[in-house]
């Protein structure tokens, strides 16, 4: 499967480039004729901050503006829900409130300094952004990352997945009025954040990855604590999940809500749980050199329930994966690190990482050791388009759990 996840604008020296995921691997395509193959080309080329922003008018139609200051979403973003009675006729989304211009801020900085900025695009995906940025910079500068660094990156991407999936499932259950379940999942979410701090010294795994190498190795005692912690999270979560699947009040709310077809998700260039909930595999697992092949979980329904089930099953797998590999991880120590290598000072490269909500991609052009061009492609941008489409024709009360089922964030989409 080939998915277009970004378009790199042309400049005076080169033509437009397409950032494509091919069998899960990042590829830069120079031939702009390829653009016709991808239905989301125009969307990603223009990257409008206002999504589906076409007002609906008529007798009885009301523009319900939700955000940018609202307790329901909490992030600085805005929905324009055009409603007729309870029915949502159109859902426009305005990302501009959260735009911080991070791509522009990266320019004229060293790759090491820009790496720290990459972590602030969306801090709950900080590690995915850090890994994708590192892969792009290493590819541009001809750096070969240390084997230990490569392994730790893969492992901690799973730790980030556990934290984010727990957060998302907790939000989803709260939105669907499952307060007991939400409280227990929220407790597990806090536990997972503490395990991140135990492994990486930061609850969001920030500052531990650097170009070509690894900054901080956990002690044997910390690894042991983390192993026990992930086993406990998996056990408690499984119990809660089985309990929740017996609750028809919960399942009925998610079933057939926010349905997307496989054609629609491919057209948006979606990756991650939203794509896999439609029975498609983005092959990111195989494309990002996992230590062992994690099973790729797919469902066919394409609704909020399928997205929830995928997150739940991935979460248990990731906990198991972490518990299994952390036992041997103490032997992964710095070998021939980046210090011994002589990196180039210019070049261009791209990199991708498998974030909890889909593929995060970076394109970097480096000259004289400084960033000259930077483009960030996030799963939340395409995800916001999908949210907007999925909300159409639903009733207003479906809004919170349909939105939360996608796992998209304004910070990630607006950059």
């Amino acid at each position: 499967m080939k998915l277009l996840i970004g378009v790199i604008p042309p400049n005076e020296e080169r033509a437009e480039r397409l950032f494509v995921l091919e069998e899960g691997k990042a590829v830069l395509l120079k031939n702009v004729d390829d653009a016709r193959v991808y239905p989301n080309y125009a969307l990603l080329r223009d990257r409008p901050a206002r999504i589906n922003d076409r007002p609906v008018s008529g007798s009885g139609v009301f523009d319900f503006r939700y955000g940018p200051v609202t307790a329901g979403i909490r992030e600085a973003g805005c929905f324009h829900l055009y409603t007729y009675g309870e029915k949502i006729l159109r859902a426009g989304i305005d990302l501009s409130w959260k735009a911080r211009g991070i791509e522009a801020a990266m320019l004229a900085r060293t790759p090491d300094a820009a790496l720290r900025l990459a972590e602030t695009v969306c801090s709950n995906f900080a590690f995915s952004h850090s890994v994708a940025f590192s892969r792009a910079a290493e590819s541009a500068l001809g750096l070969v990352p240390d084997l230990a660094a490569r392994k730790w990156r893969i492992l901690l991407l799973e730790a980030e997945r556990v934290t984010n999936h727990l957060y998302q499932l907790s939000r989803l259950s709260a939105a669907a009025a499952q307060k007991v379940l939400a409280a227990h999942l929220s407790a597990l979410f806090e536990d997972a954040l503490r395990l991140n701090a135990c492994l990486g010294g930061s609850r969001y795994l920030m500052g531990i990855n650097r170009l070509g190498a690894w900054e901080r190795y956990p002690s044997a005692a910390d690894s042991h604590t983390a192993i026990e912690g992930y086993i406990l999270i998996a056990r408690k979560f499984r119990q809660l999940y089985e309990h929740s699947l017996a609750n028809y009040n919960y399942l009925d709310r998610l079933h057939a809500a926010g349905v997307l077809t496989p054609r629609q998700v491919e057209d948006f260039g979606l990756t991650g749980p939203t794509l896999r909930a439609c029975g498609l595999d983005d092959q990111l697992n195989s494309g990002t050199e996992h230590l062992v092949n994690l099973p790729v979980i797919t469902h066919n329904e394409g609704d909020a329930l399928a997205r929830m089930e995928i997150r739940a099953e991935e979460l248990v797998n990731s906990c198991q994966y972490l518990a299994d590999h952390l036992t041997t991880a103490n032997t992964w120590r710095q070998g021939s690190g980046a210090e011994q290598q002589q990196p180039a000072t210019e070049g261009e490269g791209c990199g991708v990482a498998h974030s909890p909500s889909g593929a995060v991609g970076y394109y970097l052009n480096i000259r004289d050791g400084l960033i000259r061009e930077a483009a960030i492609f996030t799963p939340s941008y395409a995800g916001m388009h999908a949210v907007s489409t999925a909300l159409e024709d639903l009733i207003f009360t479906d809004f919170p759990f349909v939105f939360d089922s996608f796992g998209v964030h304004f910070a990630d989409a607006a950059r």
Partner: protein
Amino acid sequence: MQWWPFYGLKRQLAESREFASPVPPMRAVPRIFRHSLFIYVIDVGSSNALNFEISALESPQYSIHRYGIYLTDSPRHADILLVLGKPTAAMLPPLLETVSQLPEPFCIATIDDCPEDRERSYPDLPNHICALEGIPSPAQILGMLLDLSTPKRKTR
């Protein structure tokens, strides 16, 4: 299988320990806040970690309601406005509008998750009582809120 409302009732998840703020309040706290504290959270351009930390603060481990601390859904019901992140240009007017909706007496606390960013800055905020920097943990945020409400109930 247990009936869902009874699931986990015997589990003691709330933690009893001291919650300390990394910085003290910048001015005297109105005594009216000593019984309870209602907080309205506004994100004005954070990197999202702070939103996650506020969600973690709502987890059973911290059990903020036992201290009389509540998150409200409207600034008109709030004692404290908790500002997450440094405002983007677009979020400055909504921030000031939110401040204008707070009932007297009120205080404003800010958490700047990106202090090294010199491009963005806070406007002059009235009754700005506390300013944290970086990404504080929920325990530190709770410590700050307890400083603003009931110092004597800091440990429970």
